[in-house]
Structures are given as C-alpha cells and as structure tokens.
C-alpha cells in the first residue's frame, strides 16, 4: 500500500475515533500520542483502551461512510470502538526508527490476549514498513483462535499485498479448513495460483472421500488453472449431482481456457442454460 493511501486511511481513522469517544477519552488518547515517551505510552494505553472507551460498535455518519469507502476501509464499519482505537494508536506510532517500531509492536504481540491480537493483526495494513510484518503475519495464520484468524483472513488487505506465495496459500487453505468466510478474503482472485489450485483439488478429494461437501468458493480458485489432470477431478465433482457444487464447477470452467472442460459442461443442459443466462457469479454461492 502506498504511503499516501496509508495517510488517508489514518486520517479517516482519526476522524471516526474522535466522533466515537468522549472528550475525556479523546484527551487521554491524544496525550499519549503526543507524549515524549510515545512508544512506551502507546503500549500501555493499547492494553487499557477498553476501560477508557467501552466496547460499543462504532457509529458512522453519512460523510464518514463515504470517506471509508473512498480510502478502501469500509470493512471497519462493524468494528468495536476499542478495536478501532487500538489500531489508530498503533498507526500513530513514530515510524522513523524502524527497529524501535518493530520492537514495540512485537512486544505487544508477545503478551497479547485474544482481542488484543485481533487489533494487532487488524493494524497491519496501517503500519509503516509493511515488509517487516510478513513473518508475524505468517505466524498469525498458525493461530488456533477463530477470531484471530478472522482478523488476518477476512477484510484485511495486508496478506494479499505482502505475503509470499507459500504463506498466502497457507492462509487460503486454512481459511477453507476452519470454515472462514472465503468471500471476505481480500485479493482472492488476484493471487490465485497453480500451486494453490492443485492443493485445493487434493483437499476437495479428501472431503469427498469422507463423504463431505466442498465449499463452492473453492472452484473459484481453480478455474484459471484447469488442465487435463484437474479436469479429471472436475468430472468426479460434476457426477455428484449436488446442484450447488455442479454450478460452481461450471462457473469455474467458464472462466478457463480449457476447451475439453467447456465441451463437457455443455453436455449438462441445466448447467449450459445457467451459464447462457449469465446469472451465475461467485457472490451467488
């Protein structure tokens, strides 16, 4: 993410924080950001935020709704005020001394409880020097805690913009395993790749072997990479006669260049018709 974008996002956060906390809490937050001992003060304040701000969901006026849309953070609209304040505090950390910034944030990660971890991972797109948080983000994907995984996987632009392919693929695969809302993964289509597609195909086969269904969103990540081998697996899926699965596979095939698969779909009148009518899209699954 470009620095100007980050600044615009930060300004949007400031405006929303100010209209959602009392004058007293606002003074407290500002005195911390302006303190000479900023990084220590922010670390302490980060922990104490809920005591000062309460836990309500933030309220946005029409102007603010437009603003967050413009800077690409409309997902914050259902955040609690303490999550927002924590992210805002971190975004205000002085970024000139990269090592100090890293040490400050890392110490918070080391002692974080669940809601703190959620805020820390939510703050990644708002922190300076995005490249220094890559390892931490990959570590977060190994978490076992649902809300922490959601903070990384859902509505968070950081992973798609910064993770290497192996870590990204791990994120997507784990999101399927832990039944997260795949549609909320930012950059899902853009970062689709052949390795991920073949891993997901293997995962689909395991699910079928256990007599379980496959999340239709899985096929979205396969379409572009259909080859002779993947085609054989798709045929198995199409023979399951699960209408949703069939339609998702048909949509994936329609987005590929692999002609034998396209021809095969045409032998299913219902799927052919659905594609012709053009009313299949990934949001419908």
């Amino acid at each position: 993410m470009k620095r100007d974008d980050t600044r615009a996002m930060q300004n949007a956060l400031s405006a929303i924080v100010k209209s959602n906390v009392s004058a007293e809490s606002q003074n407290w937050l500002e005195s911390i950001i302006q303190s000479a001992d900023q990084s220590n003060k922010i670390s302490q304040a980060f922990v104490m935020v809920p005591r000062k701000t309460g836990k309500s969901i933030i309220q946005l006026n029409d102007e603010q709704k437009v603003l967050i849309e413009e800077v690409g953070i409309s997902y914050i609209s259902n955040w609690t005020i303490y999550r927002l304040c924590r992210v805002w505090l971190l975004s205000a950390l002085n970024s000139e001394d990269q090592d100090k910034l890293h040490a400050t944030v890392d110490r918070l990660f080391l002692a974080a409880e669940m809601n703190e971890a959620v805020a820390l991972y939510s703050a990644l797109p708002f922190l300076a020097h995005p490249e220094i948080w890559v390892k931490r983000c990959a570590e977060g994907i190994r978490s076992n805690i649902g809300s922490v995984l959601e903070a990384i996987m859902e509505n968070n632009p950081y992973p798609a913009e910064n993770l290497d392919e192996a870590a990204w693929n791990q994120l997507v695969l784990k999101a399927f395993f832990t039944e997260k809302n795949i549609k909320l993964i930012v950059g899902l289509d853009k970062r689709a790749n052949l390795d991920l597609a073949s891993t997901l195909i293997d995962y689909a086969k395991e699910r079928w072997a256990a007599g379980r269904k496959v999340n239709p969103q899985l096929w979205r990540l396969v379409g572009k990479f259909i080859n002779a081998e993947i085609f054989e697996t798709l045929k198995v899926g199409l023979q399951h006669y699960d209408q949703i699965e069939q339609r998702a596979i048909a949509l994936a095939v329609s987005q590929s260049n692999y002609q034998p698969a396209k021809d095969y779909i045409s032998t299913f009148p219902e799927l052919k018709l659905a594609l012709l009518e053009g009313n299949l899209n990934w949001d419908s699954f």
């Binding site: 922990v47 809920p50 080391l110 669940m114 805690i145 649902g146 809300s147 256990a210």
Partner: protein, 328 residues
C-alpha cells in the same frame, strides 16, 4: 510413600465417595470462582457446561514444579488470557482470570523481581478480575515481601485480591494475610480469602472479608461440611469453588455442592448466592466482569457448530457425561 497409598489413608479418614446425581439443581447456573483449567481436559469443560457452570475464574497458580525463567511466566499468563479463554469459550463458559505471583515461587527472589516487572503488562488486560492467587505457603519473609508488593499493585489498579491461605498453620496464616491487607489500607470487601474451613470462617466474615471455600476431595473442605457452614453462618459473603487443578480434584464440585445443599433443604436463594451471585458481586468490583457477557456466551449452542474455530477435530460431537460422585 506412593500417591495411591496416601489416598487410601485419606479415604479411611474421610469416608468413601458415594454416587449421586446432580439433577436436583438442573437448570441452575453456577460460577466457579477458582479453578485451574490449564490443568484440565476438554472433557471437564464439557461436563462443567452440562452441569450448568456458565462462568469461571482461573487464578494464576504454580505448575507443581517451579518455573525456571521469566518467559515461562509470560507464556503462562498469556495462556490464561489467550488460549485458555478461547478454549473455554468453545463450551459456552465465560473465562476470567486473576494474575499474580504465587506464594511458593515468591521464594525465588531473583525471579520474583523479574515477574513483578511484567505483572503490570497483564493486570490491566480485559477480563482480568483481580490479583491472585497470592498470599502465604511457608510463611517466609520472601512470601510476605511479594504479598505486600502485590497488594500495593492491586490498590493502584483498583482490583480485588484473591488470597490463597496456607495448608500448614492455616489459622495463623489466614489471620496474618488479613492483618497485612488491612495495613495496606485495602477494603476487606475487595478481598476474597480462599480455602477457608470451620476454624477460619468466623473471623474472616467478622472482619468484613469474603470467605471462599474449596471443595477438594479428601483435603480442604468436603461438601457435607460446606452445607453445615452455610446453615450456621448464612449465605452472605460466602462462596464455593472447586480449585480443581492437576491434583485429585473435581471440576464439578460447585454444582455438586449445590445439589447437596438442595437435598439438605437449603433455600434456592441461599444456594444461588454461594454458588453463583456472591462471586459475581465480589469480582465485579474489578469493572471487568459483566454478567451479560457470560449469559451471551452461554447462548452458544453446543450441539450446533461452534462459533469461529473449534478444538474439536473434524466430525466430532460434544459428549455429555452425567455421572458424578459426592465428595464427603
């Protein structure tokens, strides 16, 4: 002496456990204000949820062997506010904790110094409802030093204190714990004196402290004795806990004691106070405990899919276990 022979001896002393079921208190809600879930299995969480435990407090404790470095304290405190809290939430049980340096480990002074430095990082976290469990074990000078320092911390942070009273020389240790708390000008109403018995309860209540009782098989209190204490002293400022840990202990001690109280004719109001309400009143003084939070948590339907991630492996179903024993 091996462990099993000492249990045999205690059985001779305390009587055989006898089977009974807790259906007498079906539908009642319980709060276990002292239980070390880190040492317990997932089956225990299931059984507790089934028995009506809706919330609990996990006091920071020792491992059974001393920790050798600061990082293992840090990881332990982190697990109390992190993984253990999450694990509990998977069973619809709201998990709170108290954070402190326990008395036995206060005796390693160089390590204790370092622990004191990281305590402020943890005591202000969400859901930390007190400093605990702190107090005396051997009643050494080092134990007293760190007990005092932590009382001071509690005073600054405005947090209740959960006081562990010693197994040996209990009566004197309990008196001394209370004296020192008053010296530090703490309000006795913010202090929960734990592991009481017939010998200590009167003075604790008379001096305005909360009196907690641990129902622990073969040692500490039995639930028959607990019924008698509530009959004698009434339900005010008294609370019951399991203190279940890595020893032979029973995470269902609170609901079982409630069932016994019901069978012995105590009123529902009295039972509710000592097994649920009093603990809420005492620890809510932290500002970190809200009954609405654990009622919301209880609404997780265990037979449906758990919210978020789960500790269940693919296809597993929660098990229900209704068998139970009486602890006498």
């Amino acid at each position: 002496m091996c462990c099993s022979s000492s249990i045999e001896r205690d059985k001779a002393l305390m009587g055989e456990p006898e089977a009974f079921d807790i259906s007498a208190v079906k539908g009642m809600k319980f709060f276990d204000p002292h239980v070390h879930m880190t040492s317990r299995t997932t089956d225990d969480y299931q059984a507790m949820a089934d028995a009506g435990v809706v919330a609990l407090i996990e006091p920071a404790f020792w491992l059974g062997q001393p920790r050798t470095g600061l990082d293992s304290f840090r990881d332990y405190y982190s697990s109390l506010v992190g993984w253990e809290r999450f694990r509990s939430s998977q069973f619809g049980i709201k998990h709170y904790c108290t954070i402190g340096l326990n008395s036995r480990e206060a005796n390693n002074e160089s390590l204790a110094e370092q622990v004191m430095e990281i305590l402020p990082l943890f005591i202000y976290k969400e859901g930390v409802v007190g400093i605990g469990e702190i107090g005396f074990d051997d009643q050494t000078a080092a134990e007293e030093k760190y007990y005092r320092l932590q009382l001071q911390l509690a005073k600054e942070a405005g947090l209740p204190v959960q006081v562990h009273t010693p197994h040996r020389d209990k009566k004197k240790g309990t008196q001394r714990s209370m004296d020192i708390a008053l010296e530090h000008e703490l309000d006795p109403y913010s202090i929960i004196i734990d592991h009481n018995n017939e010998e200590t309860v009167k003075e604790v209540l008379d001096r305005g402290f909360w009196a907690a009782f641990t129902i622990y098989p073969f040692t500490k209190m039995g639930n028959e004795r607990m019924v008698e204490i509530v009959k004698q002293y009434g339900p005010e400022r008294i609370m019951v806990n399991s203190a279940a840990d890595w020893g032979i202990s029973d995470p269902l001690a609170v609901p079982k004691t409630a069932a016994l109280m019901k069978m012995r004719g105590l009123s529902d109001e009295a039972i509710e106070l000592v097994t649920y309400r009093n603990a809420i009143t005492a620890f809510a003084q932290s500002g970190q405990l809200d009954e609405a939070d654990f009622n919301a948590q209880k609404n997780v339907d265990l037979t449906e899919k758990f919210e978020g991630n789960t500790i269940l492996r693919g296809g597993q179903q929660p098990r229900t276990d209704k068998s139970s024993i009486i602890i006498s």
